[in-house]
Subunit: 186 residues, 4 copies
DNA sequence: TATGAATGAGGCTTCATTCAT
DNA sequence: GATGAATGAAGCCTCATTCAT
């Protein structure tokens, strides 16, 4: 019984998916264990508390979002239009068929009153989102207005993801959000 | 031993506030009892399960939102412009200083995988929102486009409320949302 | 299932006996529950943590010791000799057939590194012991020497109780301790 | 992968110190491992159970006590007075600044109901103590009374060590104990 | 020898719920 | 109607122990 069954990364990946779908509280250590093929107690070999594991999933999500979405804002070789296209498409692909919507938003709902240590990570994620999108827009709109437009676009995107939890037809709202984003440099 | 300390409505009001601030799971029956001046066991005189109580808070929230927001869309005596102004202002007032943001959105995050019976009520709330806002806009935009615009506005509003959980500066995004709503008939 | 099965005092009494015999750690909440006829979870109706329950047992032990032992030092009607006789006899009766010896000493071993909040209660107990015995002796020996003699007598008593854990023949050592105590005013 | 990091003796030494300070239960195999520079699993190369390791620490403690204390009772070249002086001084040095007091006494508190296999070793330690001290005294007092006096002295010493856990001022009581011991042949 | 991964039992605690009074 | 006592299931976490590498 010392056969390696998974890895720190493996645990993070399974936990991330479960947290995204069911939230922090409704995901038990036993659930995560089952998903990894471990017993609940064995997860403590990799993480010393559930909260530390949650923190690791948030870090991972930030890195993935950077790779999938935010980084496209800084591609030196691309025009602003192209960067915006890539940004919007990155969002579409990132949340496509992603059960549970946005991990960060889900945590934002739970973290406020019970996991205050996680709030800064979540805030950082949203800031990166706004900052990178504003970076694309600021040549056209100036920094101040670009930040406003970026924040509004983020809000619409997150709102659409929320509505999709209740009614799948809201997927159309998400698409319109991406579409309207493109028209900002259209 | 039977002095009436509160009422069904009293319990609902306290529970609603707690659910909005802390979420369904993180609000215990004991918390609600404390807020009402009851012991947790006594709540079962009014509601047979916690979920039934939650359901009652959702119904109440719908009614309040109708009164504060949605009904303004159907005021026969008012112009569409005036209705839209009232609608936007209703939203502002409804969520002003409301700790925890939107009860319905909060439940949407928790209800999906764990309280499926509540989803229809939540869906109904968002439909009422879209339907009433679209009612104001459809003379100008036609029904189909009016529904889209209404849904997008709802998404932006909910997204802004979410961002406010993480960073209070997002209040500005909420205001811009109301402002842009008005310009739809400007 | 709402039949009263025990009381706060009942829980304290059972817990005290188990803590004395088996120590704090080796007594589980389930053990205490079993002794009371409760489930482990039900104990939390009376005490919010195991440590709080432990604290209550220490308070109780102090009160019992005052009644059985320490108070005899302050009986106005009695001569010093008589007080000393009562004091020594109180000790004998208090620890007679008391499985586990002295609750306070047992806790002193565990409390140091893991339950620091309990140390002051334990210290208080030993101080009361020394203070009351010295009160009997100080007319004869002066306060300073009386405090020394009292502390030495306490040490011998506690040491004898410890040895009895290992070898029941040490009961004789406990008796000699009481005997030598009497000869202090002999 | 097989570099020797420590030895059986090394593990015993570290474990002994931890058991003395924190007790058997509150010392985890991981703690011992950390102290030795090993992982907890590696300790099982030297000892097949935690209890066996505990047993080894008790054996070691007995040997050290013999060397430091008990043997002085049998020094053929010395007078009884000198032997007693050495015995008392051995005790003083042995427990001087020894965090946690007497390993054997600590185990006596835990071992009774949970580690019965260790009781004989502990009993043996106390017997050696009494036997060797009585050996010094028996020419003067006769065997029977010498055994009593030795047991009483041991009790007082252990009691003083216990009181030191609660209040460091009890160090004076320990010193008086050694002093009174000397006066037995004074 | 030493490691790191895994186990499984057990511990404390929380909580929705029930019910006799 | 309200209470307080009790339940039982579940949750997080710890730890001695095992074992393939």
């Amino acid at each position: 019984m010392a056969i390696r069954k998974t890895s720190r990364q493996g645990v993070i990946d399974h936990a991330l998916r479960l947290f995204r779908r069911n939230g922090y509280h409704y995901t038990s250590m036993a659930d995560i264990g089952t998903a990894c093929g471990l017993l609940k107690g064995s997860i403590y070999h990799y993480f010393s508390t559930k909260e530390e594991l949650a923190s690791a999933t948030l870090e991972k999500e930030i890195n993935v979002a950077k790779e999938h979405i935010f980084n496209s804002a800084y591609q030196e070789g691309n025009s602003d239009q192209q960067r915006l296209i890539d940004f919007a498409e990155g969002i579409s692909l990132h949340f496509k068929d992603r059960e549970g919507g946005c991990l960060m938003a889900n945590f934002a709902f739970e973290a406020g009153n019970t996991l205050p240590e996680l709030m800064p990570i979540i805030a950082h994620y949203f800031e990166e989102w706004v900052e990178s999108l504003a970076h694309i827009l600021e040549k056209r709109y100036g920094r101040h207005r670009a930040l406003e437009l970026a924040a509004d676009s983020l809000a619409r995107t997150q709102g659409a993801l929320l509505l999709m939890k209740v009614d799948n037809r809201a997927q159309a709202a998400l698409q319109r959000t991406q579409h309207d984003m493109l028209s900002l440099l259209g």
